[in-house]
């Protein structure tokens, strides 16, 4: 650090400069707040985003809560090929396969659980899926629970989700596992 020159060591000038800067911010923001309070359009006096009510737009590439894509008839597009379960580095997907009534389709998952307490949101499951049956585009990020059981999302919950709006705002409500305790 270079030694301070006389003006800086005298301190008073530097202090007044600093106070001038913060005071300028105060009066500029105060004028903007007052202007908006009286209905004038203009820049906001604060950069705050009031989170639960306002949200930043999310990137379209954001990896958020998974959803299982549905067929026309509402059944899962998933064929229980176990690719995602195999590729998952966190071992958080658990699939139990079942025969599909339609002979054209090989299998269908009887159970498809994702333990979000383990999930690392790497997106490998989405990439591995040959049927484009699992996606991470719901825009839902708020899933917390007081118990580990409350983090396990089942097939029905994942099937009920919709993709997010282009702004990233989630379209479906956050599913809450039945065994989640407040």
């Amino acid at each position: 650090m270079s030694p301070m020159n006389l003006r800086q060591r005298f301190y008073l000038v530097e202090v007044l400069t600093g106070l001038g800067l913060t005071a300028a911010h105060f009066f500029r923001n105060m004028a903007r707040h007052t202007g908006r309070a009286f209905g004038r359009k203009g820049e906001s006096g604060a950069v705050t985003i009031q989170y639960p009510e306002e949200r930043r737009p999310y990137s379209p590439r954001l990896r958020s809560l998974h959803r299982l894509v549905r067929r026309e008839d509402g059944s899962p597009r998933c064929v229980a090929c176990m690719m995602c379960e195999t590729v998952c580095p966190a071992h958080c997907i658990y699939i139990v396969a079942d025969e599909h009534p339609n002979p054209e389709i090989e299998k269908v998952p009887r159970r498809f659980d994702i333990d979000l307490g383990k999930c690392v949101f790497c997106g490998y499951c989405v990439e591995a899926c040959p049927e484009d049956a699992i996606r991470m585009d719901t825009g839902i990020l708020e899933f917390s629970s007081y118990s580990r059981g409350g983090m396990i999302y089942t097939k029905e919950m994942l099937l009920s989700l919709e993709p997010a709006e282009p702004t990233g705002r989630p379209r479906s409500p956050i599913p809450i596992p039945a065994n989640r305790r407040a």
Binding site: V15, T22, H25
Partner: protein, 362 residues
């Protein structure tokens, strides 16, 4: 007799309510002002039936929180001193405002009432005595907590306050010399004179150096940032580590009240107290000859308003300083107090003496 009692009660009540209400409001002012300075919004979530009122309910919520928290006392703490310390702190801060005048005189039922809680011939000394006694509360808190960090914090506070108060005492000597009185009312009246017929003789004009020294040392004496080494909220914990609940709240309140006392004192000594330029007892009289005559009651109201406004402005500046400057290191604060402020204050006394001797008194 009854009227005298009522008048005395009214004077004290006005000062007490003013100080306590502004102290309660200062928490809100501090939050909101810092937020606006930093391009934020500030606390705005506390609501009563959905009304948030710009976050004005937050001090209320804070107080409720403090009152309902556990009041914990460490097992090895000195019981009496531990309980006494916050009360001592807040008491001396509250009584310090008593001799600060908030207006000229008011005619009530044939009596001339000076508008200050207590009329004291040694008003300046009284305020400083009370502010200095506040250090006992801090030291008691640090010592009685049976905690090494609290003890160190208390000692830092004591050292800082003593070095600051010597600088304060020396810096106001110039003002006292000019007005030849220790009575704050006389000092404020003296500032109503006009220099060369048009400049109001406020302390900030006659004693600019003393004003800067006084405010600097005053901030140090009230232990606020940039001189908050005794507390060091975020890392070096201070003398009130072991306090919780409303006892801790009383230390916070002491902080706020001391800020108000400092603002009131700088207003009285340097910013003309309740004086409005060119406003005299019978109305405005401008140096170019014209004037507006006003009724005595209106004049008094204007003066009280001017005092409150000036105190508010000083508080704004103090908050601005508090939210702008980084903290002085302990040795830097000591160096500034003893090697910076104190010699300058002495030089100011000598200079004022020479000017007064050359010019004649006043």
């Amino acid at each position: 007799m009854l009227i005298d009692l009522a008048i005395a009660f009214g004077r004290v009540a006005f000062v007490m309510l003013f100080v306590l209400n502004v102290a309660a409001l200062l928490g809100w002012v501090e939050r909101k002002q810092s937020a606006i300075m930093q391009d934020r919004i500030g606390a705005n979530r506390a609501s009563i039936f959905g009304i948030t009122a710009l976050g004005l309910f937050h001090p209320l919520a804070d107080t409720l929180k403090m009152l309902t928290k556990e009041d914990f006392r460490p097992a090895r703490a000195d019981r009496l001193l531990f309980e006494l310390a916050p009360a001592v702190s807040v008491f001396f801060a509250l009584v310090a405002f008593a001799s600060i005048p908030f207006g000229d005189t008011l005619q009530v039922a044939g009596r001339v009432v000076p508008l200050q809680a207590v009329t004291l011939n040694v008003g300046v000394l009284y305020v400083f005595a009370m502010l200095s006694l506040g250090v006992y509360g801090v030291m008691m808190a640090g010592w009685s907590s049976a905690n090494n960090f609290a003890l160190l914090g208390g000692q830092r506070a004591a050292a800082l306050m003593i070095s600051a108060e010597i600088a304060i005492g020396a810096s106001i000597m110039g003002v006292v010399m000019i007005h030849g009185s220790l009575n704050l009312m006389d000092i404020v009246r003296g500032q109503g004179h006009l220099l060369w017929g048009w400049i109001p003789a406020w302390g900030i004009i006659t004693q600019p150096l003393a004003f800067i020294l006084f405010v600097t040392a005053g901030i140090a004496a009230t232990k606020r940032i940039p001189f908050d080494t005794p507390e060091g909220e975020s890392e070096i914990i201070g003398y009130f580590v072991e306090y919780s609940g409303m006892k801790f709240g009383m230390f916070l309140m002491t902080d706020m009240v001391e800020t108000i006392v400092l603002a009131g004192l700088s207003t009285s000594l340097f910013l003309g107290g309740w004086q409005i330029p060119y406003l005299f007892a019978e109305g405005f009289r401008f140096p170019w000859g014209s004037g507006i005559s006003l009724s005595p009651l209106l004049v008094t109201l204007l003066q009280v308003g001017a005092f409150v406004g000036k105190v508010g402005a000083v508080i704004f500046v103090l908050m601005l300083i508090r939210w702008t400057l980084p903290r002085f290191r302990y040795d830097q604060a000591m160096r500034l107090g003893w090697l910076g402020l104190f010699p300058l204050a002495i030089a100011n006394i000598v200079l004022t003496g020479l000017v007064l001797a050359a010019w004649g008194t006043r």
